[in-house]
Amino acid sequence: MMADSNKPTVLKGGRIVDPARHIDAVGDLIIIDGRVAATEAGGNESYPGTFETIDCRGAVVAPGLVDMRVFVGEPGFEHRETFASASHAAAAGGITTIVTMPDTEPPIDEPALVDFVHRRARDTAIVNVHPMAALTKGLAGEEMAELGLLREAGAVAFTDGRNTVTNARVMRRILTYAQSVDGLIVHHTEDPDLARAGVMNEGETATRLGLGGVPREAEVIVVERDLRLVALTGGRYHAAQISCADSAAAIAAAKGRGLAVTAGVSINHLTLNENDIGAYRTFFKMSPPLRSEDDRMAMVAALAEGTIDVVVSSHDPQDVETKRHPFAEAADGAIGLETLLPAILRLVHSGDIDLSTAIRALSTRPAEILGIEAGTLRTGARADVVVFAPDTPWILDETKMRSRAKNTPFEGARFQGRVLRTMVAGLTRYTYSDT
């Protein structure tokens, strides 16, 4: 049954986890006109018959997830993913807001293209969509894009997506200029020259497989350079996805010095490592590459202690044609919208992080960093909500995934924790059913 935004709704008796208000308690969430009207602790109240009541006992009720690194194939690669298919996958994963990357064809480096994204999303998507626009024209890393006009058109941040701006002078100017438009710079940190011959983490495993390695230094050098440029310019900076211990240490030190920096990590780098590649499994090929188990544990620790602010799916749909190749020649990237929450619950169940930390990194912090309306269930907030059963076991069947692409590294994976309902502005956009 679909909840109607015009009809008051009560999510009754769930465990409400709202890190923005430091709340983790059983209660009722009342939604009226698409907004949170109140949170009643205890969950024993009774409501008038005009209310639609949804039983959430045993489930977690949390602010809908905000995924700030999603590659959508529209425009240019619609066969991989569209706003419609990505948004259905997002809803099934408990994600109510996706932030899209500008790596499309053409890339989103013009105000008119930002407008295109907004219009296509409005007409076809069932979750909120916010575009990030290009840092540089054509994502080429040379000429600054029209940051002001792009911001005015509705870009929430700037990034060159999969590309790294290698020219320090260009990066310095971007960090300086972006302040005039309150622009957040989101950067993929991998030195392409140092990484060029590599397709997986550099080390013994790569040597045994005969594959070129990407050293951790390819990432750390760019992170450290960027942090120095942030110190020089005073810009606002977010490392899109870091993968190794030294990067986390650099971010922690920069935060300690009071710089306006934040960092993200992909769910893949939190839950998988280089050994998962096994016999050249291309669905595990990504950039940055999956690192060692020590690095994975360092990422989890950095998330737990708050050095890492955000966890992203880094949803990167690739079609069969780009993945059906020998490992070295296959495209990077994995889908992740539908597995983001269940995968992070692995860390919750193992006791590495608590649920509140997980929700903060998946919802509250990305909303704060991007300055968008989301990430909390406080009274008056838009009712973007995820309801999930934290303990329900299930096995991923990739044929049932909603994403157009099927390149999931969690093929056949066992999960514990399942999304039951996703609401966007009080409208139910996804409900789990066995059938």
Partner: protein
């Protein structure tokens, strides 16, 4: 096939030969023993056996290699197979066909044996998962080249009589060499003492976990070696600057008499070919009395016959 060799073939339990890594020492020895017999066959006037009569062997080479391809072709023909060579480097790949498409096409032709060389590590294993016939890895990127390691081992065993306990120095471009990887795995499995010697830029990260002794000096690396195995400098794989110049490389890493003298007297000199004379090896050494390079080529045919024969034992409808 003799009763003895069919018993030996039964010890080799795999459907494919994708690398040395999954072979037990017993399986390696089985293949070497079979190859010893095949040397005899090759030296006879009547060189044909009927082991693969009626079978189709396709040599699928995504990378040009006259030497290895001919060796597999001769091996297959001496065993009675119908051998067909396919070079795909320039045709279907350019048209956008993926490796898996190629596999499906080939599969429809019902080959019994597929010998594959590909420039990407893991490509042969990927292909093996998509076809129904037996697959032999004839070299995949910088990963493995199992028949080369087997033929090297056979050459050593026939010259010195054993592998166990020998000190083998593998010298040169280890980073890009599938020959080095397969040899490290095979010789270590048979309890040889393996060393690698290379300029620091041509040593892969973590190699010290595969080989206990790693040297950047030929003088130290060759000391008391029973076998000096030179590798080809793979200039075509070098996208960056790994060495300052060929001249400097030869000066420090090229095998000449002075460096060979660090090894044991009479040490075997090997090279997988094709050689860059004057780059990694002095012509006088390549053609000198300690060189067994031509014998390696002969052993190549024998080893490939042995491998095809061992796989034939597992082909269906026998």
């Amino acid at each position: 096939m003799s009763a003895e060799s069919s018993k030996e073939a039964a010890i080799y339990s795999h459907r494919h030969l994708l690398g040395i890594e999954r072979l037990t020492p017993e399986e390696i020895v089985t293949l070497l023993d079979l190859a010893d017999e095949a040397v005899g066959v090759s030296r006879q006037v009547e060189k044909k056996k009927a082991v693969l009569r009626g079978r189709t062997q396709i040599n699928l080479f995504f990378e040009a290699s006259t030497r290895t391809q001919s060796s597999f072709e001769i091996a297959g023909k001496r065993l009675g197979a119908d051998v067909m060579n396919m070079s795909v480097a320039s045709s279907s790949v350019k048209k956008g066909e993926t490796l898996i498409d190629t596999a499906a096409t080939l599969n429809a032709m019902h080959p019994d044996l597929l010998v594959v060389r590909h420039h990407a590590a893991g490509a042969v294993a990927l292909l093996a998962r998509k076809v129904e016939c037996s697959v032999v890895n004839a070299g995949d990127g910088a990963h493995e080249h199992p028949t080369q390691a087997l033929l090297d081992a056979l050459t050593i065993r026939r010259n010195i009589g054993r592998i166990e306990g020998l000190t083998v120095a593998i010298c040169g471009d280890v980073l890009h060499s599938r020959v080095a990887r397969s040899n490290i795995l095979l010789l270590s499995a048979l309890n040889a003492r393996v060393r690698v010697v290379a300029p620091p830029t041509l040593l892969p990260v973590g190699i010290e976990n595969m080989v206990p002794e790693v040297f950047t000096s030929m003088k130290e690396g060759l000391k008391d070696a029973d076998v000096v195995m030179m590798l080809r400098l793979q200039r075509e794989r070098m996208s960056g600057s790994f060495i300052p110049s060929v001249r400097e490389y030869f000066r420090y890493y090229g095998l000449d008499q002075e460096k060979l003298d660090y090894a044991k007297p009479g040490a075997l000199v090997m090279h997988p070919g094709p050689m860059n004379r004057g780059v990694e090896i002095d012509p006088a050494i390549a053609d000198g009395p300690q060189s067994v390079i031509n014998e390696q080529v002969e052993m190549g045919v024998a080893v490939r016959m042995a491998v095809l024969e061992a796989l034939a034992a597992h082909l269906p409808n026998r």
